[in-house]
């Protein structure tokens, strides 16, 4: 794998070269919400923003056609949806979002029952990760096993004072650099040391939460009062699940009529009443606190139990987009207090940084970050 330096002035040239060969999606400021959009030649992405919506939908499509069908005299013709994703690059994705795909891969790349369409998009995509050189007030990646400079994706890059340190992490990533070698120069040991230092600085600026382990959290299941209190103000609007890079629940719906139509899978939310309502009316999660319990325990107990990793990347979008300022960190801290359980403790707790960071100066780019409802 190669490690190179890309002068900031060459970023546009690199992007243009990639745009010529692939569909390139990158952070773009939009009306109301910033998101990942397809960029054109000469267009500089908003490299310093944290997008309001995650790049999840580029691979796990918000709406995906599973099949189309038509009744004809010989029977029913079923044409499966496309399983070959378009070759694309997700550029400027943050380490947390990049990590989110490695988590969603676990259920979707099931050896027996793979979700082929997700796999198609995933295999056709290359992720160019941009390490964070500052943390938002809502960031907590270091508490769930990530890091602001985590090397994840196919290419990893970090802005080190006017130039980018760029490292390929996979063969797919190496191609993206090698095809444009003239734009890059060799990286020195000093460059790598500078990147390491920045990463450590950002990580140390972030408050560290301890999280109770999967078993201890599952033990909270029957503490109804805990969940009811936690969910008091929740509106069941589902915003948290739609902006979550790791939420992957979906619904399946048919469009058209019984002679001709399509079947789609689309994002769903466990926060909705209808989510668990069975035909006949039985609903095991009819109350919103039961649905909140499902969402929290799926991420922090069931998924880790099954796959070994917490299904949360600490991006903080659910905190920023909640209309009633529900803060996931309250659950994490509250549950630890209630269970009295041994924390997972990914790293040693940092002393007195909590206060400092929650009131840290917000850089101009962070001003777009909405703090719950404000």
């Amino acid at each position: 794998m190669v490690t190179k330096i890309l002068p900031a002035g060459n970023l546009q040239a690199w992007l243009d070269s990639l745009v010529a060969a692939y569909e390139v999606y990158a952070p773009v400021e939009g009306d109301g919400a910033s998101t990942f959009k397809k960029i054109n030649k000469g267009q500089m992405p908003a490299m310093d923003i944290r997008t309001d919506t995650p790049p999840k939908g580029l691979i796990f499509k918000q709406v995906e056609k599973i099949l189309s069908f038509e009744v004809n005299p010989d029977g029913i013709t079923v044409i499966p949806g496309d399983e070959n994703g378009t070759k694309k690059i997700v550029f400027g994705i943050r380490p947390c979002d990049s990590r989110s795909f490695t988590l969603t891969d676990k259920p979707f790349f099931d050896p027996e029952l793979p979700e082929n369409q997700y796999m198609g998009h995933r295999n056709a995509s290359a992720l160019v990760t941009t390490a964070c050189t500052s943390a938002c007030r809502t960031c907590f990646c270091t508490s769930i096993g990530g890091a602001p400079d985590e090397k994840t994706g196919d290419v990893w890059m970090m802005d080190i004072d006017g130039k980018y340190l760029v490292e390929s992490l996979t063969g797919k990533g190496e191609e993206l650099i090698k095809a444009n070698e003239a734009l890059f120069s060799d990286a020195s040991a000093d460059d790598e040391a500078a990147a390491k230092r920045i990463g450590e600085e950002v990580a140390s600026s972030m408050p560290k939460l301890n999280i109770a382990d999967a078993k201890a959290l599952d033990g909270l299941f029957n503490d109804d009062a805990f969940w009811q209190k936690l969910t008091d103000k929740c509106l069941s609007c589902g915003a948290c699940t739609f902006v979550c890079p790791t939420c992957y629940c979906f619904d399946v719906r048919d469009e058209g009529n019984t002679r001709k139509g399509e079947r789609y899978r689309g994002w769903d939310s466990c926060m909705f009443y209808q989510y668990n309502r069975a035909a006949g009316g039985h609903n095991p999660r009819e109350f919103h606190w039961k649905r909140m319990r499902q969402r929290m325990l799926h991420k922090f107990s069931y998924f880790p139990e099954k796959y070994g990793d917490i299904d949360c990347v600490g991006c903080g979008r659910c905190i920023r987009s909640c209309p009633v300022s529900y803060d996931l960190r309250d659950f994490l801290e509250g549950s630890l207090a209630v269970t009295g359980a041994a924390p997972v403790g990914f790293e040693k707790e940092l002393s007195d940084v909590d206060e400092k960071v929650r009131t840290c100066e917000i850089k101009p780019a962070d001003e777009t970050v909405k703090t719950g409802g404000l």
Binding site: I66, L67, F69, V71, G75, I76, V78, P80, G81, E83, P107, F108, D110, E112, L113, P114, E115, N116, D218, G219, F221, N222, Y248, C249, F250, D251, V252, R253, D254, G256, N257, T258, R259, K260, G261, R263, R265, D268, C270, Y275, N276, R277, A278, A279, G280, H282, N283, P284, R285, K290, Q294, L297, H298, S301, Y302, F303, E305, K306
Partner: protein, 278 residues
């Protein structure tokens, strides 16, 4: 198994026969059109299939026929939602989409030589009927069979056309009951748990299978415990809102297990060890 490369895409099956069981339950006998797909569809008793009415949607339905019935698959479907309403308008020659089989099914291999106590209520007989007919077709592999089945009224009893055949099977004790009889009813009257207590099956070398409405299951479990059945001897098959049936869409979990993929069959011992919404 449906083609492993197209997990959510069903294959086509044709209804060869359809008939009413009760005013709101209809049984469909279907055959998968594609020969290779039909040969690949090898179910165990207690497994489920995802049936489609294209344009209306998909529903997860238990396969009520035993794998020993190789001519067709049987599904007995209660009319209670968008897809099943539509299914009730369908008949011989019409086509379903089908994918599966899914789920774990009953661990029948480990039940060889054991006595089976099958307790069903209403349409809840459908999933356990696959075991009953499997055991009848492999009669020497199992010990005594006790069936306790009930419905609200005589007209709500399903599989009435099977009773005569079942009644003639050696070592099979059949107890059919209704909550409320009518002029023509001469059989037992009483709730399933009440009749179960009367029958009082022995827990020795036995497995109790139960499926039915939640309220029935609640009392059946209590009664079985009183009769000294251990939680490991009590087996049930769960129902819940399932959409994808492959453990992905998220909703049918009991703790970290999915009804559609890790279930629907659980022993009471397994359920006791799980925290979940039922």
């Amino acid at each position: 198994m449906t083609s492993a490369t197209k997990t959510l895409v069903p294959t086509i099956a044709t209804i060869i026969e359809a008939f009413d069981e009760t005013p709101d339950v209809k049984t469909f006998r279907v055959k998968i059109d594609d020969e290779a797909a039909a040969a690949a569809f090898k179910q165990r008793p207690g497994q489920v299939a995802e049936l489609s009415v294209f344009g209306a949607g998909e529903s997860v339905i238990s396969i009520t026929s035993s794998p020993t019935q190789t001519e067709y698959l049987e599904f007995s479907i209660k009319r209670c939602g968008v897809v099943t309403d539509y299914m009730h308008t369908m008949g011989a020659g019409d086509k379903f989409g089908i994918r599966g089989p899914y789920g774990n099914g009953f661990p029948i291999e480990s039940w060889k030589g054991k006595n089976l106590i099958i307790i069903g209520g209403g349409i809840g007989l459908a999933p356990v009927r696959s075991v009953l007919n499997y055991a009848i077709d492999n009669r020497d592999d199992f010990g005594h069979i006790t069936l306790v089945y009930g419905a609200r009224s005589p007209e709500d009893l399903v599989f009435k056309w099977e009773y005569e055949r079942w009644g003639a099977v050696k070592d099979l004790d059949m107890n059919i009951t209704v909550d409320c009889g009518d002029d023509k009813w001469s059989g037992k009257v009483g709730f399933v748990p009440t009749i179960l207590k009367e029958v009082a099956p022995s827990p020795e070398n036995a497995i109790a299978l139960t499926c039915g409405p939640p309220i029935m299951i609640k009392f059946v479990l209590q009664d079985l415990a009183e009769m000294n059945f251990a939680p490991e001897q009590i087996v049930t098959t769960l129902e819940g809102k399932m959409q994808c049936c492959v453990g992905l869409c998220g909703r049918c979990n009991i703790g970290s297990l999915f009804i559609c993929k890790d279930g629907p069959v659980f022993t009471l011992a397994e359920l006791n060890s799980l925290n979940g919404d039922f």
